[in-house]
């Protein structure tokens, strides 16, 4: 009986989510382009070195952002995330970005 109830609950949830139209979560990383001096990365690199982490190198510091996109169509969602990066989240003169989309 309990099992059947939870199945019904899951079905109801499923229907609700279907009606709401599913959300895509974008995980966005913005870092300085390779070749552009990253003073924070350099400072961290020196700190790691002085702590004895002799194998550490090329430290780059960036930003990590999560954005929920209320768009069911993954292609459209991706286009929207790309536009967000280009327009606001990254300054493409000095920064590069990458993102992954998860359900």
């Amino acid at each position: 009986m309990r099992v059947r109830e939870s199945i019904h609950a899951a079905l109801r949830r499923g229907v609700r989510e279907e009606l709401r139209g599913g959300t895509v979560k974008a995980k966005i990383h913005v870092t300085l382009k390779q070749g552009i001096l990253d003073p924070q990365g350099k400072a961290i690199e020196h700190a790691l070195d002085s702590l004895g982490f002799k194998n550490a190198g090329n430290v780059r510091v960036g930003k990590y952002m999560e954005v929920d996109v209320d768009e069911k169509d993954k292609v459209k969602a991706e286009a929207e995330v790309k536009a967000m990066c280009e327009k606001l989240l990254a300054n493409t003169i000095v920064e590069e970005y990458r993102y992954e989309l998860t359900a």
Partner: protein
């Protein structure tokens, strides 16, 4: 003249700019809240220093989408004179009204001190009252003044004399040692190709009257007023 000073949430040099234009130079100043979308009857616009929108994301990145920026862009496109100081400079870069971008200071420190800057181009609307090569003592106060642009743009700016101010020794020598923030080519201030939009990291409004012990910055504002007075004549000359 009628000068507009834009006020963003987080601007903190807006009243200094107002004071210089109004009380020191006797001009009419209008404070423009960033929600305004119409700029009528202004002769020049100043984007002041500060920390608009808390410098969140990047300096100037959010302010550039303020409602007022559409009108500022229109004003600039129509040949209107726009001066961006410090955060104002950063906003102009983000808005694409000037080329390039700002990086964190090489030392990672917020630097606030008097520095020498050399007037590399005294034939602009913002430096006309200076001598070519004149050294001005003007304070900087920023953590993100490390100017960067791609080599092609830099070469074009150098060829067009768009690099107006550079960090130098008190004697006027431009050396890597006196570069406070890692800025490309010791750049402290640049102008657009059309010559009506200037961005500078040093704060001339903080040293524009003798009572403060230094009035070198006044030359920037006097230049603007002189240029506005002779604007029609100057436009003709540029046209020819």
């Amino acid at each position: 003249m009628k000068i507009g000073v834009v006020v963003f949430p987080g601007s903190n040099c807006d009243h200094d700019c107002q004071h210089v234009f109004k009380d020191v130079l006797g001009q009419y100043v209008e404070m423009i809240w960033h929600k305004e979308t119409l700029l009528a009857g202004l002769d020049a616009i100043v984007l002041p220093g500060g920390f608009s929108y808390g410098d969140y994301l990047r300096t100037g990145a959010i302010a550039r989408f303020s409602p007022v920026m559409g009108a500022v862009k229109e004003f600039a496109k129509g040949g209107g004179m726009v001066l961006g100081i410090c955060n104002g400079f950063q906003i102009l870069l983000e808005a694409g009204l000037l080329p390039g971008a700002m990086l964190r200071n090489k030392s990672l420190h917020f630097i606030c001190k008097d520095l020498s800057v050399k007037v590399e181009n005294a034939a602009t609307a913002f430096t006309g009252s200076c001598q070519s090569g004149q050294v001005l003592k003007i304070p900087i106060a920023h953590a993100d003044g490390n100017y960067y642009t791609d080599p092609v743009t830099l070469a074009a700016m150098q060829a067009n004399a768009q690099i107006v101010l550079r960090y130098c020794t008190p004697e006027g020598k431009v050396t890597p040692e006196v570069n406070p923030n890692g800025s490309l080519d010791n750049i402290a201030g640049i102008i657009n190709a059309e010559g009506n939009v200037l961005g500078m990291m040093p704060h001339p409004e903080r040293c524009a009257e003798a009572v403060l012990g230094n009035d070198d910055g006044k030359l920037i504002f006097l230049s603007m007023l002189e240029s506005l007075k002779g604007k029609k004549k100057q436009l003709k000359m540029v046209g020819a």
